[in-house]
């Protein structure tokens, strides 16, 4: 059986109205845009989707819209991480009930749990559902809590539904420890990177990424992926460099610069919710200039 999660997958932003409430109609348009421009799966709401700024009710309502709008064209996973683990458990149940294809969960926030506590957390979450589970490792944002190869190996032995890991370490040694442990236990495990760091990860067993830039430049995403899997190292490197220049631009107050860039590409999705700032006119003009320099405006789709 093929992997459910591979290639350039899109974790979408959350379109908001001016009063910061969810804009459901635009959300549907955005999901459709990603499907049409080559996304191999959708995942929502990662931090780029402002997950932690949404209420439980909003998260559930938007998840329902997403599952319905996609209509099984590509798989959708729901990110269930919340400040309270009890809320995460509830969101996982909800995801299963509404027909999502999988859930994804980062290591718990704030407390810096021990390796043993992380093991217990993922076992509790993973055994509470019948859906595939994707683990999410982000040691740079949650220092102290991270997946070691050993922890991942233990969880793979325990949880048959642990099918993938999103790794946002962006680190040669850490990535290789995860890949060589996981793939030895389960060769069809999906190890993917947090943003489009495909060139350094694909030769070591990486099978894709959750994209940061797909709402701006889906063509570049596809080109980079194809160069990486075909082993065209010089082209992969050039495209990876270009992608990183874009990431350097977008990661600023993520996702507010990304939402700013989407305005330029004719796909406005409203403001970013506080405490994150919304890209102001000057910032949008700056982003426009950089997108122009990178040749993105002329080579990527405009509008919905």
């Amino acid at each position: 059986m093929g992997r459910m999660f591979e290639g350039v997958m899109q974790s979408t932003v959350t379109p908001l109205k001016e009063d910061f409430t969810p804009d459901l109609a635009t959300f549907e348009k955005l999901l459709d845009f990603h499907v049409r421009t080559g996304a191999t799966a959708i995942s929502w709401p990662h931090h780029k989707g402002e997950s932690l700024n949404l209420t439980m009710a909003q998260r559930k309502a938007l998840a329902e819209v997403a599952v319905k709008a996609l209509g099984r064209r590509i798989p959708i996973s729901i990110h269930v991480s919340a400040l309270s683990v009890e809320d995460s458990m509830e969101l996982a149940q909800h995801a299963q009930k509404i027909g999502a294809d999988a859930i994804i969960a980062i290591t718990p926030y704030f407390w810096n749990p021990s390796q043993e506590a992380l093991y217990d957390h993922y076992v509790r979450l993973g055994t509470s559902i019948d859906l595939p589970l994707i683990a999410y490792n982000s040691p740079r944002m949650l220092s102290g809590a991270e997946f070691t190869g050993e922890l991942l190996g233990r969880l793979l032995e325990r949880l048959p539904n642990l099918v993938a890991l999103k790794d946002a370490s962006f680190h040669s040694e850490k990535f290789l420890e995860l890949s060589r442990t996981a793939l030895a236990i389960r060769p069809d495990f999906s190890l993917v990177t947090g943003v489009e760091f495909l060139a350094p990860s694909v030769p070591l067993g990486g099978v894709g990424c959750y994209s940061s830039a797909g709402a701006i430049c889906p063509n570049l995403c596809t080109q980079l992926w194809e160069a990486c899997i075909s082993g065209d190292a010089p082209r992969a490197r050039d495209l990876q460099f270009k992608m990183l220049r874009l990431w350097d631009l977008l990661k600023e107050q993520y996702p507010s610069s990304l939402k700013g860039g989407m305005v330029i590409m004719g796909r406005p999705v409203g403001p970013t919710s506080p405490p994150l700032p919304t890209a102001n006119k000057e910032r949008v003009a700056f982003i426009a200039q950089r997108l122009e320099e990178l040749g993105i405006i002329e080579s990527e789709p405009h509008g919905w």
Partner: protein, 305 residues
């Protein structure tokens, strides 16, 4: 600037006698071993060589000794890092006078100067010589001071001989930011993987590699490096995983004392590390030796000197 392109650079250990003095007799065997087993350059002495535990006079002595023994067969890169900028710069000048092919330095020990003074530190070391100068980025060992692409650009601007960056951060973002910015203004600038994690580094522009583990498994290291130089990174996955397995086994056993322990397990006993580093006591050594014995890919590696 001399056009030096580094390749596979071995980073030898420093052997000590029971009285903790440098064992030059044994060091001669160490250098000979590296030269015979694929080194395209020697970096004298990196942290692997316990540089920080050597006096200034000893660092000079060991460099002179190496240059005499190598006789120009491969470039000798002199590591001259120190806490004080002037001390490091003086040592760099001495290295050039002694016949080193290049100089390398990391951020100052102990101090956490502001970014402008980090630039100044490197600029003074680099401008003390006319041979190529390399910056060594090792944030896991020197966490307080961060390097950035901006610092790389400022140094390129200041130093015509700033030839490259030896990276042990393993951070993809830093490597890509730095090398892509550097290539725009200095196309022959080199990114060098500071350890054997060469596949990921190679995909994003590294053309050379520093290797401590070449003292343990020189064939494996050479094979990994050679495949990466052909840019066939999928083919490099297996040797990369084997090197990682070896590296993790050594890391679990300890620091440089464990590297020396691994050499001993391969029949190349180099004695203990110098204080304040721990000795590798029998129990840890035996566990490490057993782990290495269970690694099939080490069977073809040379035993003894």
């Amino acid at each position: 600037m001399a056009n030096l392109r580094l390749g596979l650079v071995h980073t030898p250990i420093t052997p000590f006698k029971a009285d903790r003095k440098i064992d030059f007799g044994l060091f001669e065997s160490v250098v000979a071993f590296h030269l015979k087993n694929g080194a395209e350059g020697l970096a004298i002495q990196m942290h692997t060589g316990e540089s920080v535990s050597l006096s200034d006079a000893e660092q000079r002595q060991i460099l002179e000794f190496t240059v005499r023994q190598v006789k120009g067969r491969v470039p000798v890169i002199a590591h001259t890092s120190d806490a004080g900028t002037q001390i490091a710069a003086d040592r760099a000048r001495y290295a050039q006078d002694t016949g080193a092919a290049a100089v390398i330095a990391t951020t100052p020990y102990y101090w956490t100067p502001p970014p402008a003074m980090i630039v100044e530190h490197f600029a003074r070391i680099g401008s003390a010589v006319t041979i190529p100068f390399y910056v060594f980025h090792t944030p896991d060992e020197l966490a307080a001071t961060k390097l950035s692409a901006d610092l790389v650009l400022k140094l390129i601007d200041r130093l015509p001989n700033f030839a490259g960056l030896v990276d042990s951060s393993h951070q993809w973002q830093f490597m890509i930011d730095s090398i892509s910015a550097a290539w725009r203004v200095r196309p022959d600038f080199q990114l060098i993987s500071g350890t054997e994690y060469m596949v990921s580094a190679g995909t994003i522009g590294a053309s050379a590699m520093f290797s401590p583990l070449a003292a343990v498994a020189p064939k494996l290291v050479r094979n990994l490096y050679d495949i990466c130089r052909t840019e066939k990174y999928f083919d490099a996955r297996k040797p990369q995983e084997n090197v990682a397995a070896l590296r993790q086994a050594v890391k679990r056993a300890g620091g440089i004392e464990a590297l020396k322990g691994a050499m001993r397990a391969m029949g190349r006993d180099c004695g203990d590390t110098r204080p304040p580093l721990d000795k590798l006591e029998a129990k840890r050594f035996e566990k490490l030796a057993a782990e290495l014995a269970a690694m099939p890919f080490l069977r073809d590696e040379p035993r003894g000197w």
